[in-house]
Symmetry: C2
Subunit: 231 residues, 2 copies
């Protein structure tokens, strides 16, 4: 199963260390649900799966542990650690605050070309909504937000925000299909662009915070409905 070894060799040119590639691949496997929450990650098994010794594999695991996707208990092993509903809400709340901060700063610092790019991304978003193309919407939506991170003019903030954004990716995807969510999201995007254009920090901050926070709330109701269905 999972015959990835062939392609790995091609990657060798860009990522010199085997441990890096493995970390990325493991991340994928956790993201896409191949490894479920709480599952123990056997070093020997994984090592032979990837065709390496335990040494680089352990390094990869440690990286995932630091990013919070894996918990390493001394002398016990490494376990997949998906955030529970509470932690997920917390992460969305932080995401909302970070995006708000980006928006606030971007309103003061955004360039004209970036504004144009934002509008372009937004137009493509709209086209995707009308074409009912969820994947395309997702891609353009991501571009939209990434521009805002970048235009905060703060590389550190940009990086941290993008990091959390990436980590929440698999969970955000799940709740995109809510009725009317895309249309509402589009309206919010328009409002954000307008606020940034006018240099209205407070407004950009406010809209973005709510724009992201609502995702967390939608997720919350999703969880609640799942829970009720299970009872």
């Amino acid at each position: 199963m999972l015959h990835l070894e062939g392609e790995v060799i091609n990657f060798r040119s860009m990522e010199t260390r085997r441990a890096d590639q493995i970390a990325v691949q493991l991340e994928e496997l956790i993201f896409d649900g191949t490894f479920v929450d709480g599952q123990r990650l056997d070093e020997v098994r994984l090592a032979e799966h990837f065709g390496v010794s335990r040494t680089p594999l352990r390094e990869a695991l440690q990286r995932l542990a630091l990013s919070g996707m894996v918990e390493m208990i001394p002398r016990r092993g490494a376990f997949v650690r998906q955030p529970g509903p509470v932690e997920l809400m917390e992460m969305f709340e932080v995401m909302a605050e970070l995006e708000a901060a980006c928006g606030r700063l971007a309103a003061m610092r955004i360039t004209d070309t970036a504004l144009t790019d934002l509008r372009k991304a937004n137009a493509k978003c709209l086209a995707a909504v009308e074409a009912r193309d969820a994947d395309s919407y997702y891609t353009e939506n991501e571009r939209f937000h990434r521009i805002i991170y970048q235009q905060s003019g703060n590389g550190f903030l940009e990086h941290e925000t993008a990091k959390l954004h990436k980590r929440l990716k698999p969970f955000r995807r799940k709740q995109l299909r809510f009725r009317g969510r895309m249309a509402q999201s589009m309206a919010e995007h328009e409002a954000v662009v307008a606020a940034l254009e006018h240099g209205d920090s407070a407004r950009a901050e406010d809209i973005l915070r709510k724009h992201v926070a609502v995702q967390g709330e939608k997720f919350h109701t999703l969880m609640a409905s799942l829970k009720r269905a299970a009872e």
Copy 2:
């Protein structure tokens, strides 16, 4: 130099993995300036300094690399990486936003006991100022802020904020001695407590953001003056 080996054995009970202890110790050595910016960290040298093999030492280095204090260049080695003036300003800016977020949420969620604790910490701060005890001030100041992180009611936010706070520690320390900074800081603390007490989110957010941001600015002027002095 640096005879730490004796004590290390005592730590064994709490931190089972040698790599963890080494990571902490290396962090200290970078913080206190024993290793300067750009310095290469020789694996073999450090390994024999700590009395271990390269394996756990490498794991420790990788951890520091992920926290940004060390840069690992493939096939080249690990180098100490202190943030430059620009990155430092960026980090302070993010710190300000995170603290502001904590304050905003804490204003809605703080408990009465926590408010009491805040006042206590503040009183001790004041006593430290009057006693011109910078160390004590620093400790109590930290407690004050940590309570606010905690009372955000968001464990993830608390953790991330504390992480950045810790990373900025060595740089914050340097600019505490500015004329009148302590007194001004005290006044801001009082205002924060008042805002939290009244559940005034917007005000708590605002004061805290400026309270932290001013540290970045002070640092900026400090850097500028150092630069001018060097010319």
